[in-house]
């Protein structure tokens, strides 16, 4: 089928070339141009947040979506990464340069890009933008991809409480921002729903503008060690790259940990994978891929697109089989959230 389309596309291009000046033919075949995506390569520029490709967490999830689009949709991609402590103008410039280089579909990864997207999108109305994790910049050419991290975190919070024997669990946030507080709010509520008497220890590794808490395993390890010593037996690491330290501490203490963003029982170093009972999965890759796919199909829709439990945009992983015994209970909670019987707050 696809091959037929390719051939058709090639033939139509050849026909256009033979026709010489094809301005009239061009406009007369809008249907063809819509379906021959294989011939017309879509150009996608991606601007990562600090850390970029290789952070084993948030940015990598976006990168995975981009790679998938490259493989399946034949997208021509260009990537650029933010530098820690850069000026606002540097973010604007990054987006503008991607556009200048011909990448007229731009994905901005992370809420820090909101002001830059707002400005650059207004100046380039023909360029389509996807802004991940923020609704601060809206416009006719901006799609805002947000995730219900609170709902996913509720489920792993419930899992933590169900698995805990000490009635004491921990939450480690990378940086004390509103985004990570969403994780905390869901996790705490999930744990307390299962066991109202449970103790939830909460610790944030750094305070903004110090964003090192997302990439410092040593800090994660110290914080987790403290929590395990104070009686916690499950710790949720919502801390990007710092999570590695949490897993190391869990391994040393013989306790349990919960991963974040990706299925970390698959991505973490092999020797600590067995302590990860589950991970809260935030499907940034799906969001990214869907955006590019919608562009190739000419179905771009501006506005906010929420990836929540209902559309399977967040969830929990079962790799390793550590929570198979409580899966039925978690799925019951999941259904209650989808049905609106449980409303998970976004602030702790």
């Amino acid at each position: 089928m696809r091959r037929v389309m390719k051939v058709t596309a090639a033939m139509s291009v050849a026909a256009l070339a033979l026709a010489g000046c094809g301005s009239s033919t061009d406009s007369s075949t809008p249907g063809a141009s819509g379906t021959t995506s294989a011939a017309k390569v879509i150009k996608v520029g991606m601007a990562y947040d600090v850390g970029g490709r290789g952070d084993q967490s948030f940015n990598d999830a976006a990168a995975a979506g981009l790679d998938k689009a490259k493989a399946e949709l034949g997208a021509d991609t260009k990537e650029a990464t933010a530098v820690n402590g850069e000026a606002e103008s540097a973010r604007e410039e990054r987006l503008s340069q991607l556009i200048d280089a011909g990448y007229v579909n731009v994905i901005a990864v992370g809420f820090a890009y909101a002001p830059a997207v707002k400005k650059v999108a207004a100046a380039n109305p023909d360029v389509k933008f996807a802004l991940i994790d923020s609704t601060d910049a809206v416009g006719p050419n901006i799609e805002n991809l947000t995730f219900a991290e609170n709902e996913g975190s509720f489920l792993v919070g419930a899992a933590a409480a169900l698995k805990s024997k000490t009635g004491n669990v921990g939450f480690i946030g990378g940086v004390n921002t509103d985004l990570i507080k969403k994780f905390e709010a869901g996790y705490t509520m999930g744990a307390k729903t299962v066991n109202p008497a449970i103790k939830v220890q909460v610790k944030y590794l750094t305070q903004p503008p110090d964003f090192s808490g997302f990439g410092d395993p040593a800090k994660g390890k110290t914080a987790a060690e403290g929590m395990y010593q104070q009686g916690a037996d499950v710790v949720y690491a919502a801390a990007g790259g710092s999570g590695g330290g949490v897993f190391t501490a869990a391994k040393a203490a013989g306790k349990m940990a919960i991963g974040v963003d990706s299925d970390q029982a698959l991505t973490a170093p092999a020797d600590v994978r067995d302590v990860i009972i589950t991970s809260m999965i935030k499907k940034v890759d799906v969001g990214t891929f869907d955006f590019i796919k919608s562009l190739t199909e000419g179905k771009f829709v501006a506005g906010t697109k929420v990836y929540d439990l209902k559309v399977d945009g967040v969830g929990y992983s079962t790799t390793g089989g550590k929570i198979d015994d409580i899966k039925a209970k978690l799925d019951d909670f999941k259904q209650q959230i989808i049905d609106g019987k449980i409303v998970v707050p976004i602030k702790p």
């Binding site: 850069e86 103008s89 903004p208 503008p209």
Partner: protein, 372 residues
């Protein structure tokens, strides 16, 4: 004769930074070669003429760096190493943003009082380090680093209490400054709608004030004298402890202004995405500019230029923009060494010149003795 001497001094002064930049060029090229990256393309990208919107970004970035470097330089002239500019500007910008956001005062008056608050808060925060040094003998290097960490925690703690965030937003901000108190920019660069910060004038004003106070006042003389030789200053009746405290407070006052162009010309609020790290860039730029108001201006422009040009590296050449950190780091290291090398060369030239003069004078003592 004085004119030729000055010319030579200026030449020697320029020689050091030029040497440092050359060294940075060589070292960076070597790194690129070793990493197998395209050397020529990288330099072509870095040295292309920036587009108009980039020119605006470079000038804007430089104006902020300039204020930061002046704040550091005030300390340097007094032999004080104020590493705390970073914390001082952030806590000052936060305080000013909170006040300005309330909009209690009308337009320009609101701006003026907010600036005053920024200056006072910055000065007070630096004053803690000065006071600790004077009364307890605590090294300002240690105390200002500690105060940076405390400032980060304190601002973060307070920010969540005064935050004015919209639902669903992931950024925590103070209240937005009312439109009447936002400082408009200048559309000086044709070909782009982006404007240069109105507060570039503030930066220039601070630069002039710095020069006048240091070079044309009794206080400035005392400050420089104390920086050169503390014992000599004491002998000439300078109260060193008071000078330390005053220099620290002044440095902090200037640091308080660092965030103002950003606050009033771009962000209009202080939030979790307010630009960090400006204080540390200021240290490097003050070194590069040799604490001279004009030298610092060039240093700030160079820094900002490298920052902004780096973006194109990853997009057009495919080389990480962190490469610019290598260039900046090498420039700072090289410039310190280059200044010393040039200073010694200058000294030798001076000695030879004196020796020549002595030998030309009739009836002078043996010239060999003068060429030590």
């Amino acid at each position: 004769m004085k004119a030729t001497l000055d010319l030579r001094r200026v030449g020697l002064g320029l020689l050091a930074p030029v040497l440092a930049i050359l060294v940075a060029f060589v070292v960076t090229s070597t790194v690129l070669l070793l990493a197998g990256d395209p050397v020529v393309e990288v330099w072509t990208q870095l040295l292309t003429v920036p587009r108009p919107r980039l020119v605006v970004a470079i000038i804007n970035g430089a104006s902020v760096y300039y204020l930061s470097a002046i704040a550091v330089a005030i300390g340097f002239r007094m032999n004080l190493f104020n590493i705390g500019v970073d914390g001082q500007y952030r806590i000052a910008a936060f305080a000013a943003a909170v006040f300005a956001g309330q909009g209690w005062l009308p337009g320009p008056l609101n701006i003026f009082v907010s600036l005053l608050i920024a200056v006072v808060v910055g000065a007070a925060w630096a004053g803690i380090a000065g006071w600790l040094k004077v009364t307890r003998g605590v090294s300002e290097v240690i105390s200002t680093i500690m105060l940076n960490a405390i400032a980060t925690g304190l601002v973060s703690f307070l920010l969540f209490r005064v935050a004015d965030s919209t639902a669903g937003s992931n950024v925590t901000n103070t209240k937005t400054i009312p439109a009447s108190s936002q400082v408009p920019g200048f559309a000086l660069v044709p070909g782009t709608p982006n404007k240069i910060y109105g507060f570039i004038l503030l930066a220039a004003l601070v630069g002039v004030a710095y020069w006048v106070i240091l070079n044309k006042t009794r206080f400035g003389y005392d400050l420089r004298a104390t920086g050169r030789s503390e014992t000599a200053a004491v002998a000439s009746g300078v109260n060193v402890k008071r000078m330390v405290l005053t220099a620290m407070v002044l440095s902090g006052a200037a640091a308080g202004l660092v965030g103002m162009p950003l606050l009033f010309g771009q962000d209009y609020s202080y939030g979790t995405t307010f630009q960090p790290g400006l204080g540390f860039a200021g240290i490097a730029i003050a070194l590069l500019g040799r604490n001279h108001p004009v030298g610092i201006a060039f240093g700030a422009l160079l820094w900002s230029y490298l920052d902004q040009q780096s973006n194109g590296l990853q997009i057009t050449v495919g080389v990480s923009s962190e490469l610019v950190y290598i260039i900046q780091g090498v420039i700072v290291l090289a410039v310190v060494i280059a200044y010393e090398v040039v200073r010694r060369a200058g000294l030798r030239m001076e000695q030879r010149r004196v020796a020549r003069q002595l030998s030309e004078e009739p009836g002078s003592p043996t010239p060999e003795g003068a060429t030590v």
